[in-house]
Symmetry: D2
Subunit: 441 residues, 4 copies
């Protein structure tokens, strides 16, 4: 049953395939192979048996569709795979397939392999977004832009600062991904690895080494904090994307027109003014999947006793979907940033749209702090000028109180957005240094 009609939007990028059935099958088989070898490492079974088993752990020998169908019987994909694998392994070695393991050992460990690889691919796109944002921040260190609060113009910022804010979110997201760990699951039927006598812990250690996963302190069949932490980190990445994508679609509005996705399919031959920011839109749509998926994973945390009656099965879909949709969100954001054309002139023009009103408080401050005018009087005079409907510089220069202290040039200078950017540059430089330092680690 194909399911890809919406994947162009909601499952773009490399992660989608890395969490697909083919990779899952490969991961399940990698775990079975590594388990056999780890048991040989621990002296439980012979190396020959281990290799005989491992030799059959090749994805091309199995049909993922029939495994999926067979799930119906016992409720998980490992059981039919083990049956099929055992059938392929010749002779005595067959008795050591999946030895001492329970289905959840295999599926959870495979999930960790799949998640680890998907997170690695995701992190690459996150870093790529970071690099693109760093470039934007550096390029626009001095690009004046209207600050906007509650979607109303406020005092000016630079587009460099806007991009640096995006960058710091992206670097935080990268940090959370980097901090993730992925551990082997191995406990046998009830978490005691009893079938292996005393050699359970040895096998766990060797298994972790062979799969390059962490060794857990104890089996975590029903202790799902790893899943919750992974979900949280992915939710955080999507949240970061959501913010940046929203900003881009707002900046791309016809009336704002400060940023455009160039060269995309979002254009229209008869409407050259219309350039749908389709990559940002897709990023937003994909990122919007995360909160509900995180909630589903957290809601499934009350795994009963030694293995759960439903909560475990409930994790499979949302974990896969969360990786996939987050992967798509980041990939689409990367595409949007690659396509992004910034219109510096338009930014400047927009920043001046309100004709200095945004900076009128500067006149008040100057009157108070430099000229000893009382705050109340200064405020009233400036407010009156603002309300006058006249061009603000003229109104202020003509005002008895204001004009007595400030020349028209001084007034114009104070109302120039470029002169009121505070520590924007300092903040941008910090974000850039931090981003560089991150990459050097």
């Amino acid at each position: 049953m194909s399911d890809g009609l919406f994947d162009g939007v909601l499952a773009a990028g490399p992660v989608a395939e890395l969490v697909g059935d083919a990779e899952w099958l490969r991961a399940l088989l990698d775990v079975e192979a590594a388990l056999a070898r780890a048991e040989a490492d621990a002296g439980l079974i012979s190396a020959a048996h281990a290799e005989a088993i491992a030799a059959q752990c090749r994805a091309e020998y199995y049909d993922v569709a029939s495994l999926g169908a067979a799930t119906t019987g016992v409720g998980n994909p490992a059981a039919p795979l083990v049956r099929a694998l055992t059938e392929r392994v010749a002779g005595a070695a067959a008795g050591f397939v999946h030895f001492g393991a329970t289905s959840q050992d295999i599926v959870d460990t495979a999930a960790m392999l799949v998640a680890r690889d998907a997170v690695a691919a995701l992190a690459e796109d996150v870093v790529a977004c970071g690099d693109l944002l760093a470039r934007l921040a550096a390029d626009h260190l001095d690009t004046v832009q209207a600050g906007r609060t509650l979607l109303q113009h406020a005092v000016p910022v630079t587009f460099g600062l806007t991009a640096a804010g995006w960058l710091s979110g992206m670097d935080s997201a990268a940090d959370r991904l980097t901090a993730l760990t992925f551990a082997v699951q191995f406990g046998g039927a009830a978490g005691t690895v009893a079938a292996l006598g005393e050699r359970g812990p040895d096998v766990v250690r060797h298994l972790a080494a062979r799969l390059d996963l962490d060794e857990p302190m104890l089996p975590w069949h029903t202790e799902r904090s790893r899943i919750a932490t992974l979900a949280g980190a992915l939710g955080g990445v999507s949240a970061t994307v959501a913010k940046i994508a929203r900003d881009i679609t707002l900046l791309a509005q016809t009336e704002v027109a400060e940023a455009t996705e160039q060269g995309s399919g979002g254009g229209s031959s008869t409407m050259p003014h219309k350039r749908n920011p389709i990559a940002a839109v897709s990023a937003a749509a994909a990122a919007a999947q995360a909160p509900g998926l995180v909630a589903t994973l957290l809601s499934a945390s009350a795994h009963e006793h030694q293995r759960a009656a439903g909560s475990w099965h409930a994790e499979w879909r949302p974990l896969r979907e969360l990786l996939r949709s987050t992967g798509s969100a980041v990939r689409w954001l990367r595409t949007s940033l690659e396509r992004l054309h910034v219109d510096v002139d338009r930014m400047r023009a927009n920043a001046e749209l309100t004709g200095g009103y945004a900076l009128a408080e500067r006149i008040t401050s100057e009157l108070v702090t430099e000229h000893g005018v009382s705050r109340a009087k200064a405020h009233d005079a400036v407010a009156a000028c603002c309300a006058s409907g006249e061009p603000l510089v003229d109104a202020l220069a003509a005002d008895v109180l204001v004009g007595a202290h400030l020349s028209a040039e001084r007034i114009a200078a104070l109302l120039d957005p470029a002169s009121y950017l505070g520590s924007a540059r300092v903040f941008v430089e910090r974000a850039l240094r931090h981003h560089e330092a991150r990459k050097e680690h």
Copy 2:
């Protein structure tokens, strides 16, 4: 990219396929065909052109995988499909493919077709579950079972009442599905159907008639209450399944053993006592997907202006997944109920497990209401007997106060669970009558 590894659990039943790509493609093409014909009905285009278009609206002419891939360009599957369809339609008719429509018209209307058919299949399984539950309720009208509150034994119930409670939930779920309506979407680029001059409303009417969908009052590109209502109804169905599935897994516990799924794959040759209620477990896992998906759909409700910048795209996956997981939940519940073996003797034995303590309050009431003992004295006497550690009938009969008023036989009768079932039978009969009446409509 196959995605079916977990479908045996989380995407069982007919709904899964009904929301798959093949059905979506068919629905998209059905809409294009019906649109052409509706435009002919309205006198906008010739019938010949309409039929020329409709003749190419066959799923086998198109490849869903390449459509999915092409989504990347413009951000939705209708646009590449229209392109491919237009290419197939010969001559002048090609100019009338998709005439006056926007992509969202096609995708939303197709979504309604897909949802309508999926809901119909879902409702069949819901009704089948209802019938199975009605049978259980009727069969166990007099089967005594321990009532359990906060997972502790309380006063007795009948298993018939338990099943009638499940049934009433299932019938409510069916009512919500029945109440759903599905409407055509058609508004053109910005909801005015301007390309059709004044004939837009006519086309909408004909389109609705041809697809057997409702005619909407006005286009609902960004008014998504239909989606919210659908999501709510599906969430309600999953919620109902979740409750019943939880109860079944609890009744199937080794220590409780009142219900078993027979003849399933959940058994074990060496552990005949072990019969995993795998259908109920799968139902619970599938039902657990719903709350997060409903939240995602509700969160996507703020569609901007005439067509949204991401919120629309964000609906596609969760709507499909919600239909699919709810379909799987109901199908697995149906399977569980078909397999369910009820152990009447075990129910009775469990109901007597607490040796009458659950009914001790009856002794108090009898002493107060029939024998004029003060409530305080009666309560203290009974409490002392309960705390004595003796078999309760003996302790009560031997008590000075209790024994003075009640014989051992009377005490035993009062402590018999079967004698304290209140209106259980009345309630069961009501639920059964209601279920029958529902079906006759």
Copy 3:
């Protein structure tokens, strides 16, 4: 412990108080009083006892804070209230306080009373919003506005149509509220009402009549579809608000400036251009609470057996919060609409911002349908003009192909947004008629 610091934003309007502790206490006591009287109605207890009990069911006799604190002991507020009530009732009547009831009977029935009254107040605000929207739609039947898709200008609409779309969402929300039903809960310890012998159903009937609630088919202690349906309807209302509030904040943007909240606290004395749409912002913030709360209520649906081990308690907070935040969302939206100033001139100016490009496809259509030009040629000619950078009317008039068929006047007429509004008026009139018809019922 006060909790109102954020209530100005997130708990505005009458609903907040209607779901507060004082109303809850009143509702709990109303249920106890009605229960005593219903039991007298059914001949189970004397009318004198019933009145003696009812006389003590006055909120001023009890302290909600100590009840809340006492919840700690048994885990719900009904138990300590029953204790306190019993203490106040003199003599024999005390034995009939809460007779045959379990705590959940009282709390659930009180919840229905609280929800019913809160929904009634909510519905009033919803209707008021509908009236305000209907007024906007009627007033702006001919107000041209830029259509916006993916936040880019598309073909024109009217602001009347925009408002009619909002209105239809609001009327749908009102329909869902109107369809809600509220039922008595009464089943005793395990849903059999066994303590009342055979008179349980009679008491339920009288209780429903006395409280003006529906009589349920059977007790619904663990069949929570009523809660799920209520949650869904409230989630739908919030979703509708979210869409309208988002649109208002977008229309209020400095660069768009088509709508402003006038006379609010959102203004600034020195920044007269800055008028934060604080009511719409607050509405959006309150509406954003709903999806998570709905998910929490749906997630709590698997109530075990006869009464749940946690899922029931888990409903209390989200149900209250969902009523409250939805109430706040609707109230803030009403405020925003009351304050809303629409700038018709700005709408027109914005609609012309793209200089006719949005309508360029009309030229193509006219050439094809009226002048027999092939679609491909017509399209290429128009596209070239669009890309020319010249004023569009001039470019088209000067084009060899276009100019040969269309005069400059005709071109200008075709590019006039007011001439391309399709069925906007029809749709608005439909929505207005529907709204009027709703109110007459």
Copy 4:
């Protein structure tokens, strides 16, 4: 408006008060005081002015209810507080109240103070739970318990291992809390701190030092990864509680009876068998609030531009509620663990309930590995004995194949749960060592 009726269950423990209005007011004032002093530290204002301001930053001077009410005007509680504070500050210092700050600077920084203190209190309860669990794990190192998978008996475990699994989840939760950081927010109207000229970063540094918060790289008004991370950690804590609470309610079931909450209000005088695990039930109910609240916080992540149009306001309630409900969950779990009585004999009896069937596979293994019987033959013989309905030891001893190789004593030994605990002890000891090591840091 009081709101405490359900707080006994859903807002227990110290966190509830630490996130209440009183603490919020104190935190808001602490930020204003620290800001004035930080600006003096940076040489922006005089120390005298700073102290004049700080002197008025005392909670008792302000009324939280009227601040909440005043929120309605501008949409946040900082603005009316600043107005009230400014009114109290005499003379020239009044001009430096809130100097250069925007409301969000104050509210976000106060949120960090509130969250930091709440998390500290929460972490204490988490550690206390960990200690109680460590004690349980140590005390029950050798207590045999039935392993349960899908709520069916499987091979045995120890209750020590069960508790160690709970402990490892609790220690992970503690780790996530410990890793949280809390940073100052300070950026002025649009994140440039422009009103402070070049001294913005200095003020941020001093402000962080004075409040003992981290110094952020740049303002994070619309970069909410801190909130997402905090939400994820709290969601993780609640998830851990949910698992343990579920297990306790299951172990407390009348039929299982392995664990009881002693000395609580959950008991009943006439039903001594009935001991509602009310603390675990309350913990489960409180923990169930988290997933929806986490989703709400993540959904609110797309903060527009420099300050958001609703998403910021949308965070206030769920952040407070998430802290509060998680605090309640952990506190109730702590109470449940303090009350927990473990019935070792019942555990052993339950573990033997299935009469050795759970261990029948051991007989097969022994026959294969020690006696050279073919796996198929061994399996068939054992399966036949299991299906015989006879006591298993007898059936096996009497079997021709099995009896030929194994004595009745050997069979009984192999079927003894205490002899098949695998590495349970090793795992418990690891978890205990890890817990001790954590505490020493």
